[in-house]
Symmetry: C2
Subunit: 156 residues, 2 copies
Amino acid sequence: MRSRLRGQKTKYHHGDLKRTLLDAAMTLIDIRGRDALTMREAARRAGVSEAAPYRHFANLDELLGAVALEGFEMLIGDLESTSSAKRIRGAYLAFAGDFPGRYQLMFGALADRKAVAQRKEEVTLVAELVEDAGGLATLHGLAALRLAGLGDGLVF
Amino acid sequence: MRSRLRGQKTKYHHGDLKRTLLDAAMTLIDIRGRDALTMREAARRAGVSEAAPYRHFANLDELLGAVALEGFEMLIGDLESTSSAKRIRGAYLAFAGDFPGRYQLMFGALADRKAVAQRKEEVTLVAELVEDAGGLATLHGLAALRLAGLGDGLVF
DNA sequence: AGCCATATGTTATCACTGTTAACATAAAAG
DNA sequence: CTTTTATGTTAACAGTGATAACATATGGCT
């Protein structure tokens, strides 16, 4: 009967746990870095038990993959809604700067081979979108070096 | 008295543990990836107890930093002993391909701020060495995307 | 030579993590 | 309403970084 009440806090079933976990994961990864994202910490932030996430993500890699995928959707959206080459370049670098953890995850080495394959489509699309704005290799190099704190002296 | 014997296996003191740990770390990181390098696994490979490494490296980050530093020395050596722009580019990409884990560590995000600062000198030197060979940003972008399994379609 | 400070090992021990199994409950389908 | 299924919980396991307490070499000093 408790479940009939509309108070969210006492529900046995969360209702939107997958979404909440993803949000928590993205916040953690952007604010405190990739290593700060643990399955258990995401669970804590979502207010569920430490094993609950495994009903929605088979393992940590899968959660990381989901975060990366959402990142690509965001980035592609940003790039597609931008016109000039200069602005596309700006949008690309802004995304990397605004969501550093997510960005590193998106273009970093993934353990899971399936995730790498899936990611290729998105990366190919991104590469096409930035082709006239410097090219993916150069933009990614710039973004990655900046995020590593090594981009100060580099000019484009 | 046991110590007088020349048999290496029964020595209480290892004699060259720091070097051995570094070698084990580099092997692990290149062969099985960054996550495969743990303080304890390095200790096991060196044949010492799991706490012994802490006499030589305050923590895992310091060990990672030492690996990165050696990587820079190697890379800089490679680049300095190469002449034409084309060959420099080749040497750069070859290093990244041959020592993927080390490369990602060298140019990846580091938690330790001190390590980032120290690394800047090396990176600046590398940037100068490859300036006429495409530039660091582009070369790093290419190398990083390749290591992430995303470099197939990219041309330079 | 012997003595002592120091460097370098070892053995617990702690808190935290990923992950799974066994169990509990709510929601959905019949 | 009953049964199945989805989605939680709790308890456990092994592996990890790290530290403290202890043990043993090593090298300098007299």
